[in-house]
Amino acid sequence: MIEVKNITKTFGGFRAVDDISFSVEAGENMIFLGKSGCGKTTLLKMINRLIEPDTGEIRIDGTVVNDQDPAVLRRKIGYVLQNTGLFPHYTVAENIAVVPRLLGWDKDKIRERTRTLLEKLHLPPDKYFSSYPHQLSGGQQQRIGLARALAAYPPVLLMDEPFGALDPITRASVKKDFKELDELRTKTIILVTHDVQEAFELGDRICLLDKGKIVQMGKPAELLYHPANAYVTDFFEDQRFQLEVKMMDATDYPALMRAFTHLKNRTNA
């Protein structure tokens, strides 16, 4: 469980994160949603101390992160970057093995773990084990980035726009693998995105941010049907129909009709 209390971060007079507090339950998928510059990535990077907050406190399972050796802390937190950040001088296997090696696992255990992850992500180990990142496609690279983050069984996973740099078709296929991955079900995940559809697809809860503050936080349906203010309504307006369809059970006929009516009104207006 992650608890964030009153954290603030200023960059040369600009308040990127402004007195934010929230908590994420164990096993929950939390989405930080917002436009560029809303502070969502800064907020994410403060959890594994890539950025230090000016004030406030972050705890993971009751322990204050700023009291720990940052290197030791980060080995327990998986991290997936938008542009993969794979090490170009390491093979696929070596990239995946980075954290287990830092933790001093023995060789056989690392090897086995690497093969398992490659299989789960539909990359035949024999073919890709000794390849270098530049020999792989963008989608394959992103899968390796995910495998690297998962290798040492971290209980927490931080993802910074993990599908942001992929083309729509690749994105769909990577996302599919991601959703099917059994290991992810038990993890506490925080994912940063500016893509509303993605937020609704992947999030147990969504935290909508603007100008360094939380505008509304809750289940996707709450944000959609009980918006806290006009900003929230406007934020989803363009994609309301797709979102409502996504939310509903196909047999819920009245809800479906409501959605169509709404769409019609909007189109006419």
Binding site: R75, L81, F87, H89, L102
Partner: protein, 529 residues
């Protein structure tokens, strides 16, 4: 020395020296490179992410780089004396900038996303540096090391000026002796060495990322290995240390003659005459190859050892002039000959002393002497008595005695004729001066009979024996041969004999009872038994 000898024959004959010099050269290059890496690499790493420090460090190293190499060696002498230490220090300073700059650029050029990933995976600062940044910056850093290596091989030739050895011994010896084979025997291996090392390092630079980790581990050993070349035993060991000029080392009336005629076996370093006397005075050297009229002889308390077996031929100075100029200006020769016979050894030594030790200008020294002799005339008092007009170009080698003589000749020409004078001082050694004269770049310069005989004419052994090192036969031979071969004329000798001489500190020579070169040779033989 046989003038028809080919380069290959020369290199074969001198293969021992060549190997030793090459080993010294490699050693000098790599020791300084090693120190530069040990200091430059950490410094380059330290300044990444420290903008102010980076500007300062790179600026400072850049300034060091702009100091001309010969000047940098000059600065080193008062601080560190002569020998390998100042040479390695100078080379180290030159190697520093490319290594610091490329380390800095290389590490700053690492993709920030990759660096962030490394930190986020839980690598410590040093793990990020050694596992990611240095490996990815490797090609750029290697390029810096390559540049530094090539610079060091080039600048390393100058080490021969301050008794640190290397291939410069042949190059500067060859220039001084007008011996093209000797120059090439130093220059070609130096160039090949630069090309070869550059090529090998380019292979290392282009190594695959996987092999880089291995390369990083092996490299220090290889550099250490090459550095140790400098520690190889060199020549004889003896209780006395000799410092000879590059020119002296290669002459039959120099080191070669000392070995063959006197059987002299002494540990020898090669050194520029500019610092040799001081080094002898400072007890860094015990025996040096000086000139018998050098002003520093008195200044530094040195004594000339008697050449009892007569291996040093006479070196009487006289102006050498192009015949065409003499014919064009018939009034010129009598004016130049006004100096003939006026300056004997002790006068020349005194004049040199004033310039070299009392820091008077050669011009003032020349004027005072001419005035005292009643020869000085203000220019323009007797303009163009013979109606001659034109410009005479005077050349000189780069040492004070020549500067003084050239100034005297310039004053005489201006005072007694209507001719203009243009002086080209600093024409390096014999070869450069002589070539300038032959190729009509200058009209005259003062030359020495012995130098002309041995370094320019290369007479047959029979001729040499016939001349027997006597003043007049040598002068006559040189004069007739110069007219015959080059169309150049020797005017009358000025009077002094600036011969080569072995010198020691007066106190040490007295203490050891050494008065002649034979005494020295006997002392050294006794010493080694």
């Amino acid at each position: 020395m046989n003038p028809t000898q080919t380069l290959w024959q020369f290199m074969h004959q001198e293969s021992g020296k060549l190997l030793q010099q090459t080993a010294e050269h490699i050693g000098l290059t790599f020791i300084s490179l090693l120190i530069a890496i040990l200091i430059g690499l950490p410094l380059g790493i330290w300044i990444t992410g420290r903008k102010k420090a980076a500007g300062f460090v790179l600026g400072f190293a850049g300034v060091l780089q702009t100091i001309p190499s010969i000047a940098l060696l000059g600065f080193m002498i008062p601080l560190l004396g002569i020998g390998p230490v100042p040479a390695i220090t100078a080379l180290f300073l030159y190697a520093l900038l490319p290594i610091i700059r490329n380390t800095y650029t290389g590490i700053n050029g690492v993709d920030p996303v990759v660096r962030e990933a490394a930190v986020a995976m839980g690598m410590t600062r040093s793990q990020v540096l050694f596992k990611v940044e240095l490996i990815l910056a490797f090609p750029v850093i290697m390029a810096g090391i390559r540049t530094a290596t090539v610079i060091n091989v080039g600048v390393g030739t100058l080490a021969a000026y301050i008794a640190a050895g290397g291939l410069g011994e042949f190059i500067f010896g060859g220039i001084a002796l007008n011996n093209t084979n000797m120059i090439l025997a130093g220059a070609i291996p130096a160039a090949l060495l630069a090309i070869l090392l550059d090529f090998i390092l380019s292979l290392v630079q282009r190594m695959s990322r996987k092999k880089r980790r291995t390369a990083l581990r092996i490299m220090p050993l290889i550099i250490l290995g090459f550095s140790s070349f400098y520690m190889l035993p060199m020549g004889y060991s003896s209780r006395l240390l000799a410092g000879f000029t590059p020119e002296f080392m290669g002459r039959s009336d120099g080191d070669i003659g000392l070995r063959s005629v006197y059987g002299l076996k002494i540990k020898t370093v090669v050194i520029s005459d500019a610092v040799m006397y001081k080094a002898a005075f400072d007890k860094k050297l015990d025996v040096i190859s000086g000139y018998s009229t050098d002003g520093r002889l008195n200044a530094y308390g040195l004594v000339v050892l008697e050449d009892d077996k007569k291996i040093f031929p006479p070196y009487y100075a006289a102006p050498v002039i192009r015949t065409a100029v003499m014919d064009k200006y018939p009034g010129l020769a009598p004016v130049l000959n006004k100096l003939a016979g006026r300056i004997n050894d002790s006068i020349m030594t005194a004049l040199n002393y004033r310039v070299e030790y009392l820091n008077q200008t050669p011009e003032q020294c020349a004027r005072d002497f001419l005035t005292a002799q009643g020869l000085y005339k203000e220019p323009g008092k007797e303009p163009g008595r013979s109606g001659e007009q034109g410009t005479i170009r005077l050349g000189s080698k780069i040492f004070p005695e020549q500067y003084i003589l050239i100034n005297m000749y310039a004053m005489l020409i201006r005072g007694y004729t209507g001719l203009q004078v243009e002086t080209k001082t600093g024409l390096g050694g014999t070869k450069i001066c002589f070539q300038a004269l032959v190729n009509n770049k200058i009209d005259m310069y003062p030359e020495y009979t012995g130098t002309a005989l041995l370094a320019i004419l290369h007479p047959s052994p029979e001729d040499l024996r016939r001349l027997g090192g006597k003043k007049d036969p040598v002068y006559n031979f040189v004069q007739s041969e110069f007219v015959r071969r080059y169309g150049l004329r020797w005017l009358e000798p000025i009077g002094f004999n600036n011969a080569y001489a072995l010198m020691m500190r007066r106190s040490q020579a007295q203490q050891l009872g050494i008065h002649t070169i034979t005494d020295l040779s006997t002392y050294l033989k006794k010493d080694s038994l």
